[in-house]
């Protein structure tokens, strides 16, 4: 880890180190402006605030944010496509859309100023993990409607780095470019990087011998065990970038070189942690749902947007000296969570259970079905050479141990099914861990 001497930092990172009192003043100023803008230009926000009898002028301190109504994902669907825009189309220079699991996508808008803010926070993200204008960045996030590709691209250019806009997919080409262009950093989802590692092994390519030294991974929940595997197998540093389209895209928060949780760029995004069920604020350091309010967004201000991401917010000073608070890596989401026979289950729990039996995390998938009115959970686990045996008894024992480990951790019996390697689909975007076939 680099010693945190102030001289080492990129000038654009200066706001990361604002004294807390100054930061709070800036946040309040921007919060007031955002609430006023949302109230004046977005019918839904005005209607919700009127219902509660709250006027923008009543926001006098940061704590007053708690009097404001939440915004949720379905609000974006209900006002599809342009209902939450606070700027006229002549000021909007870009639209992005997230896939959304069913039906219509969610549309988000940017003014030129919004694009500048977005580029700024991504540039600061790259700078935070030690990248400079000397770096060659392979941007394997998808270019297009998805915010990841263009977001990272503009930020990398703002930093002055060399950006390779390779987009997602075509794994062997990714590896060729990574090697031949002396790539030093890659942006993609952590599961896609694991896929790249598998493919490299297959092609007998050694990523360790390449110039690659950093990965900026985001756009899906991941775990510390995935980070350890990535770092052990590739000898790069794996950094966690956090963001979501509804707020701006990637670049809402980013890990510094201390790798101890993403710092939120609090000058532009105001975080709260709430109890997902009651909506009440959590105590300091308590785990709950992350709620974000944009502090500078013009085209699409977001007031208290419920991210569905479960994390904690820490005020503890970071060794890097940044004053911006940190969240814990998002390992799970409220809506990734599934309920089976009345029990809340998170894929991350299944992951932990599998890791207690096998040394390395195998590829797995959870399939939920309903048979004769009773929910069934099947966990499909790919057989690896490390655990395979020629005797049926040893394999059945493995199956049994995996099943017991899940039952102990989750409190629910799961059917473990061993499957052949490479039969569980590798997504080149977000890994699909749960297949819910129940007709509810």
């Amino acid at each position: 880890m680099k010693k945190s001497s102030p001289g080492n930092f990129h000038p654009a990172s200066a706001p990361d180190f604002l004294p807390p009192a100054q930061l709070r003043t800036l946040q309040l100023l921007r919060l007031k402006a955002t609430v006023q803008r949302a109230y004046d230009h977005v019918a839904l926000f005005r209607q919700r605030m009127d219902e509660r009898g709250v006027k923008p002028a009543q926001v006098k301190s940061l704590e007053d944010i708690e009097s404001l109504p939440f915004t949720v994902k379905s609000d974006l669907r209900d006002t599809y496509p342009f209902g939450l825009f606070a700027s006229p189309m002549k000021d909007i220079v870009r639209l992005h859309a997230s896939s959304g699991t069913t039906g219509k996508p969610i549309v988000v808008a940017y003014t030129q100023e919004d694009i500048n803010v977005w580029s700024n926070v991504i540039m600061r993200s790259f700078a935070a993990c030690g990248l400079t204008n000397e770096d060659i960045i392979q941007n394997a996030y998808g270019y297009g409607l998805f915010t990841g590709g263009l977001g990272a691209h503009y930020g990398a250019e703002a930093l002055g780095a060399t950006v390779i806009p390779i987009s997602g997919g075509n794994t062997s080409r990714q590896l060729m470019v990574m090697n031949d262009f002396h790539v030093t950093a890659i942006c993609c989802t952590p599961s896609y990087f694991l896929h790249l590692l598998d493919e490299a092994k297959e092609l007998r390519i050694n990523i360790r011998e390449m110039a690659l030294r950093a990965g900026i991974f985001g756009a899906e929940p991941w775990t510390e065990s995935m980070r350890q595997r990535i770092e052990a197998e590739s000898s790069i540093k794996a950094y966690d970038i956090y963001g979501l389209s509804e707020i701006i895209g990637p670049g809402v928060a980013m890990e510094c070189q201390c790798q101890s949780g993403p710092h939120i760029f609090e000058d532009y995004f105001y975080p709260e942690i709430i109890h997902p069920k009651t909506g009440k604020p959590c105590a300091d350091g308590e785990e709950g749902e992350l709620v974000l309010t944009t502090l500078g967004k013009q085209a699409m201000p977001m007031i208290r947007y419920r991210t569905r991401d479960i994390t904690t917010l820490t005020n503890e000073p970071c060794e890097c000296g940044r004053t911006m608070r940190r969240i814990k890596r998002i390992g799970r989401r409220c809506d990734d969570m599934f309920i089976i026979r009345g029990i809340n289950v998170f894929p991350s729990q299944i992951e932990t259970a599998l890791l207690q039996v096998e040394e390395a995390l195998p590829h797995y998938q959870i399939v939920l079905t309903r048979e004769k009115g009773l929910d069934q959970m099947e966990v499909q686990v790919e057989v690896t050479p490390e655990v395979f045996s020629d005797t049926v008894g040893a394999l059945e024992q493995l199956q049994c141990r995996l099943g017991k480990s899940i039952e102990t951790l989750v409190g629910l019996r799961a059917e473990v099914r061993l499957v052949q390697p490479r039969t569980i689909q590798r997504s080149e975007g977000k890994a699909k861990r749960v297949i819910d076939q129940r007709k509810l």
């Binding site: 057989v383 690896t384 050479p385 395979f388 020629d390 049926v392 394999l395 061993l418 052949q420 390697p421």
Partner: protein, 146 residues
């Protein structure tokens, strides 16, 4: 003296067995004998082939999980008590039989069986002592005319 067996993990569904079999056929690798052990949801295909290293490479390249195991092939007399005599030799030495299967050829009233012992080297020593013929890879190929 030991034979190499390749074991493959197979899921229990139609067509699973034919994939590796076709692969070997295309590469002109002859299967000397095989057995399938089945559990409720999966199976283990065990193969003895002539050029096992070639077969191993081919199967792994095609994403099969393969394990290589040492096996012991024996002549077993084809009359009552023939198998019992073989088993006595290993039982006396406290060697465990994990599983066994046969070759589909018979010669001079002798059948050929292949055994997976928990300790193949100790088993071979026990057979030598009892003057029971252990069939090595070269003899096997010669006798099968493969």
């Amino acid at each position: 003296m030991k034979l190499k067996q390749l074991s493959l993990f197979l899921e229990n569904r139609p067509g699973e067995l034919s994939r590796p079999v076709h692969l070997l056929a295309k590469a002109k690798i002859n299967i000397l004998t095989l057995s399938v052990a089945d559990a409720r949801q999966f199976g283990v295909l065990r193969l003895i082939v002539k050029d096992w290293e070639h077969a191993l490479k081919l199967l792994e390249k095609n994403h099969f999980v393969v394990q290589v195991t040492d096996m012991v092939a024996l002549d077993v007399e084809d009359h009552p008590g023939g198998l019992a005599k073989v088993l006595e030799a290993v039982e006396a030495a406290s060697i465990n039989v994990e599983y066994m299967y046969a070759f589909a050829v018979k010669r001079e009233h002798k059948g050929m069986l292949v055994f997976r012992f928990n300790d193949p080297d100790k088993a071979i020593a026990a057979f030598h002592q009892k003057r029971i013929n252990v069939i090595g890879p070269d003899e096997l190929v010669e006798r099968l005319g493969a």
